[in-house]
Symmetry: C2
């Protein structure tokens, strides 16, 4: 199946790599592919430049957002949350119409320093903002509550732990659950929280996630809902 993966950061790379390894076709979408490919320095975290990453994965194509969106039969949003709406506007409502959009982004605002604030919060969520802006697209929020490596390899964390899905379209959620199962998630580990407004809940997990990262000293953990 053909996927557009919007965003070229560590989450985008991780998801794109996994999709390709499963036999899917992937176009990574970015604002300016030429500028992205021209970068030859490691990024701020010391990761190799995307050109090198792409050279090692010739089946992944880098495209402008709109071209990637047109290529994909479904799409994944891994852009930084504060730029997601702009990126998706560049992708184009027409190119995304009728398609499932898996939204992994969190609306973190780093402008006031660390820890980042969430914006929106409480009465709205990034997932809902995207669904409202793209009413023809079937938005499903998932995987935004864990480190990228765990998203595509839940066995990195032993024992039971969960992925959440939020969305208005039952068929789209079922499609996403199949992708999670493909990623290695036990079907029973996926909790359907309800409609897209429940993304408020999972996005609001980020503050405690960041504090747990600090307290544990690493990000190799995930939320598990222990149920009686």
């Amino acid at each position: 199946m053909r996927f557009a993966v919007f965003g070229t950061g560590i989450v985008g790379q991780t998801i794109a790599h996994k999709l390709v390894s499963l036999g899917h076709e992937v176009a990574m979408g970015t604002r300016d592919p030429e500028a992205t490919l021209a970068r030859t320095e490691p990024d701020g975290y010391g990761n190799p430049p995307l050109s090198q990453w792409l050279a090692e994965r010739p089946s992944v194509q880098l495209m402008a957002y709109a071209d990637a969106a047109a290529f994909g039969e479904a799409a994944v949003n891994t852009t930084a949350g504060n730029g997601s709406l702009q990126a998706l506007e560049a992708a184009g409502a027409g190119n995304l119409a009728g398609k499932v959009l898996i939204d992994i982004a969190n609306p973190l605002d780093f402008s006031q320093g660390m820890p980042p604030a969430l914006n929106p919060v409480n009465t709205d969520s990034l997932g809902e903002q995207i669904q409202r802006a793209f009413p023809e697209t079937r938005v499903v929020k998932t995987l935004n509550t864990m480190n990228a490596a765990i998203m595509v390899d839940p066995s990195l964390v032993p024992g039971q732990h969960n992925a959440f899905v939020s969305g208005n379209d039952a068929e789209a959620k079922a499609f996403v659950v199949e992708r999670l199962v493909e990623f290695g998630w036990p079907r029973e580990a996926v909790i359907d929280l309800g409609d897209i407004s429940t993304a408020r809940g999972t996005e609001m997990l980020l503050p405690v996630w960041l504090r747990l990262w600090g307290a544990l000293g690493h990000a190799d953990f995930n939320f598990h809902i222990a149920v009686a």
Copy 2:
């Protein structure tokens, strides 16, 4: 040991009952003890009136906030979050000075309907508001992320799950961990998130907690942090 338990709702009753069953002395604090005792009708949830609950537990005394605060060597805040600061002001800074205050409240705002919003959020928390308002008191936020019954009987939920502590005073946190162990929590199930500002993280768990309650259809669950 003598405890003040502020608040007479289900959380206050549950904590007071557990403390008494462990051999501690408990004064429940409320705004107007006579008015509380005069109520003979079940509350809005169908629970029996507090007078009946107290009649079955003669060792628990009901007092005005200030008298309960003076009685307690330590205190527990189980009042509704939007009234906690007012309740604690009535308890009196002098009566609480130097004491550990275990804060279980969540700043839920039901004024705009369901689901409630959190206020404050992001850059502040109820735990920090209380610590700022009562600088001589050693505030420890804990147990605000689960149903009352589970707070004092974690075995109600099988398998591993966690309680969090947030606070500025290491000795106060150690005291609270001992109380959690007394309540039945395995010591290793208690995660020290750091200073009281980390209460932002646990208070912001409430929105997803409420959505999980809806999705699961019951409140007999708790958060577990699965760690690699």
